[in-house]
């Protein structure tokens, strides 16, 4: 039993065979292998099937609103930089409803890990298209098949000069675990977009399909080359798995907060400086 397992049985609300189970295991393995104390680990999620993940591991969690995973995650890290913060949710949550936060969190570069279960569908609401749904995919709302360009999260993240961009496939547990570990240890915002088969609402992008349509980046691949990364991120055909892009040396959001430079204490340990306050009021007398 790992540090993140419960000591009692848990009723998991996912379908048997769902890729989410694999991701849950990979996440727990990554945390265990990094020997992170669950008392310091906070999961932040939105709403959706993927967003239920934090319920099933024994850490802190903040299960907020659909699409609003990154703002609280950023704030939690900024309010107590000692915490390890993992923002984990679905493709609809992160790239659809939450698309604006996705872009601006990347710009802000908080030291958090952003895990996205990319099943190319809105599963919890029963199978509508998500931003990453491939063209032609038929759903109850997209009755003639999706016509829009699928959202390419890794290309957009690279265009935003994100500090860490990786892609994984839930079916490859070892690689997924390793990528999550790298993302957690990376300093700065780290995206791990994970292909996740939804066995109920996505009968096209199955385990087999993902297996056939992905490959692992060569050892020689240099993730610090932005242009090459963009090429990889947008190349037609199979999707590359691995760390696509790393921008080294970016300062994090928390590092930019001047108040921690003089005093590293997290916010909850601080009290009102009465003298400072008195001084401020008195300065308004003259």
């Amino acid at each position: 039993m790992g540090a993140y397992d419960f000591d009692h049985a848990v009723d998991i609300a996912w379908c048997p065979g769902c890729g989410n189970f694999r991701i849950l295991e990979s996440v727990k393995d990554a945390l265990d292998e990094l020997e992170l104390d669950p008392a310091n680990v906070v999961f932040v999620s939105g709403i959706g099937q993927a967003a239920k993940t934090p319920q099933y591991l024994n850490a802190h969690y903040f299960n907020g609103l659909h699409g609003r995973t990154l703002p609280p995650a950023t704030a939690i890290k900024a309010s107590n930089p000692e915490l390890i913060v993992i923002a984990e949710s679905g493709d609809g949550d992160m790239y659809g409803e939450g698309g604006n936060h996705f872009m601006h969190a990347i710009r802000r570069n908080p030291d958090i890990t952003n895990i996205v279960h990319n099943n190319m569908v809105y599963a919890l609401t029963k199978g509508q298209a998500s931003p990453t749904t491939r063209q032609g995919f038929v759903t109850p709302v997209q009755v003639h098949g999706v016509t829009q360009e699928p959202f390419n999260p890794v290309a957009v993240a690279i265009a935003l000069d994100a500090s860490f961009v990786a892609r994984a496939f839930a079916g490859d547990a070892r690689q997924t675990t390793d990528l999550i570990k790298k993302a957690i240890t990376h300093k700065g915002y780290a995206l791990v977009d994970i292909f996740q088969p939804c066995v109920t609402y996505n009968k096209v992008n199955t385990y087999g399909w993902f297996k056939q349509n992905t490959y692992t980046l060569e050892e020689s691949y240099d993730p610090t080359d932005r242009e090459a990364a963009f090429r990889k991120a947008t190349e037609p055909g199979k999707f590359p798995l691995g760390v696509l892009y790393i921008k080294e040396g970016k300062p994090t959001f928390e590092e930019g907060l001047s108040l921690y430079r003089q005093d590293a204490r997290p916010l909850y340990q601080r009290t009102v400086d009465m003298e400072m306050l008195r001084g401020l009021v008195d300065s308004m007398r003259t």
Binding site: A73, N80, N100, H101, L267, Y268, T271, V272
Partner: protein, 573 residues
């Protein structure tokens, strides 16, 4: 005495306002100022009213004793406020023909010419400052000191030119009055000199610091941006994380995230921005997060009048958010309350784990006047978080609905916050009886909030015949308006907390023969709230929603109309 300058955006009226009010206050005058301005950066027409008095003054008045036009169309919007008593001071070129008819007192000063002589048109403001300093017998050293203070950023050369310009104005003022014309004779008070001169923005900001605020996330929006800027300026010295979010949705979700992790967070916004925070409000309600929302009202709907004032978001603040959960709404009427109530908002939010609003408006935030002090001795610094044990349950059911609040990183337990309906541990549940218990738990907190309500304040005779009810920023205009009317059978009841509604409300209202509500909105929202709680209807409403602040004259005329001629009252006659 009411002075109005009328100029264009970009002419530096705000600097003049700051200089003049500071200088006059330090000379021992009570001051009040307020600028009404358009939603543009250059041009148009804006104006600033500065009132100078031997008594405390707090409201924006229709009356203009001294009018200073500072550009060509400067008088256009003021025809109905310039009377034959209004002294017009300034450049002949800016004074409309009709006022040069000999029936209006005019003090011609070629302000622009003087300014140009002193180095350029930009010095017009300091010329004017000098003139007013002269008229008000301000010590010229004090004037210089203020100029040095406020314009320190300009560099030595331009600073000196400003000083010279002010001196020239000062000199000119001496020659302005014809023999026999009196200069300004307002009594000064030594105590005023050392009082605190503040606008609403600083009152709210300082109240936030006093309340232990450590996190501010917001998106710019008039008139609430000032509070964001306040915290930015103070961020370092006072240990506040301040972040301009990409949108208001992010801002409110950040604030809630910060509370979860041990911060004490505030968002500052206006109606349109708050509209985007409404889902977040409901989130705070569900996960029982404290949250402090400064909502600076402006006229809507939609973009409305971005730089004007109104009190039309009371119902919105009260009923927004899907589902049912408790909240509190404070509506400070004075700057002292702006300070104390904001501090109190953090206390309430933290203690009851609910969202608390500080409902102000553009007028409240921008008006400036001197107050004896902001009482920092009552700094609020009580913390309601607990160190968790291994068996910690975030939503433990308790007598009063409040569960001890843990945060991650402080203790052994796990802190699980869930926007789905949850059990005591914070896990998602669909159990019907747990659901009912959790709704009851959340709503129970209303009783606690009710017990800590700020009661309304009564001004005037206890045995009133008529009662004038108002809330938030309207207080002073109502007071001055009733003073003007001069009825001693009428009292004022002012609410600085509008929700929960104080239980004494019905009692107060029932004692009145006539009940009049005064609000800066079109539908009498507070009256509707009172009726929904007490069943009692008002006999009349004085409502203003043009975008300008409520003025004493509006109140006086309105009351005159509603209450009829003054009756012989009270047995006091």
């Amino acid at each position: 005495m009411s002075i109005v300058f009328s100029g264009q955006a970009g002419q530096g009226l705000q600097t003049l306002e700051a200089l003049l009010t500071r200088m006059l206050k330090r000379s021992g005058y009570n001051v009040f100022s307020y600028s009404e301005f358009m939603s543009r950066i250059r041009g148009g027409n804006n104006s600033t009213q500065v009132r100078v008095s031997s008594r405390r003054v707090f409201s924006y008045t229709r009356r203009i004793d001294l009018f200073v036009p500072l550009h060509e169309n400067a008088m256009e919007r003021f025809h109905d406020r310039i009377t034959q008593e209004t002294v017009i001071l300034g450049d002949r070129a800016f004074i409309e023909e009709q006022y040069l008819d000999g029936h209006h007192p005019v003090l011609e000063v070629p302000i622009n010419e003087v300014a140009r002589e002193k180095g350029g048109a930009v010095y017009a403001n300091t010329v004017l400052l000098g003139i007013l300093a002269g008229l008000f017998f301000v010590d010229s050293d004090l004037m210089h000191e203020e100029i040095r203070m406020i314009l320190s950023g300009l560099g030595e050369d331009r600073l000196q030119k400003n000083l010279d310009a002010s001196d020239e104005g000062y000199e000119r003022s001496k020659k302005l009055l014809k023999p026999g014309q009196a200069a300004v004779s307002i009594e000064r008070t030594a105590e005023v000199r050392d009082e605190v001169l503040t606008d609403g923005i600083n009152a709210v900001g300082l109240g936030g610091l006093a309340g232990g605020c450590t996190f501010v996330s917001s998106y710019p929006m008039s008139p609430s941006t000032g509070v964001l800027v306040f915290f930015t300026k103070k961020a370092e010295s006072s240990g506040v994380v301040v972040e301009q979010a990409e949108d208001e949705i992010s801002a409110v979700n950040m604030a809630i995230g910060s509370w979860y992790a041990g911060g004490r967070a505030l968002v500052t916004t206006s109606g349109g921005g708050y509209a985007l925070m409404v889902e977040g409000l409901s989130l705070a309600g569900c996960i029982e997060s404290p949250l402090v929302i400064h909502l600076g009202q402006r006229p809507g709907p939609a973009t409305g009048l971005p730089t004007r004032t109104e009190q039309a978001d009371l119902q919105f603040a009260l009923y927004s958010g899907h589902g049912e959960f408790p909240r509190a709404i404070l509506a400070p009427g004075t700057h002292e309350q702006g300070f104390s109530h904001t501090r109190h908002a953090f206390y309430l939010a933290d203690k009851y784990q609910v969202p608390v609003f500080i409902l102000t408006d553009q007028f409240f935030l921008e008006r400036r006047y001197n107050v004896p002090d902001l009482d920092t001795s009552k700094v609020y610094d009580q913390r309601f978080i607990v160190q968790t044990r291994a068996d910690y349950r975030r939503y433990a059911l308790t007598e009063n609905g409040v569960s001890p609040r843990g945060i991650p990183g402080f203790g052994e337990g796990r802190v699980r916050a869930d926007s789905d309906e949850h059990d005591e541990d914070g896990f998602i549940t669909e159990d019907f009886s747990t659901r009912t218990a959790m709704v009851n738990k959340r709503l129970k907190k209303l009783s606690g909030l009710q017990m800590e309500v700020f009661p309304p304040q009564l001004f005037g005779p206890e045995d009133y015949r008529n009662l004038v009810v108002c809330w938030g920023s309207s207080l002073h205009a109502v007071q001055e308006g009733l003073d003007m009317l001069g009825r001693d059978d009428t009292a004022i009841l002012h609410y600085s907390q509008v929700y929960p509604l104080a239980e004494v409300t019905a009692e107060y209202l029932e004692r009145a023969h006539k009940k009049i509500v005064v609000e800066s909105n079109a539908t009498a929202q507070f009256a509707r709230l009172v009726r929904s709680e007490t069943g009692i209807a008002f006999d009349g409403a004085i409502l203003k929603y043009s975008g300008l602040p409520l003025m004493p004259e509006d109140v006086c005329e309105g009351l005159h109309e509603k209450l009829g001629k003054k009756e012989s009252t009270h047995g006091r006659l």
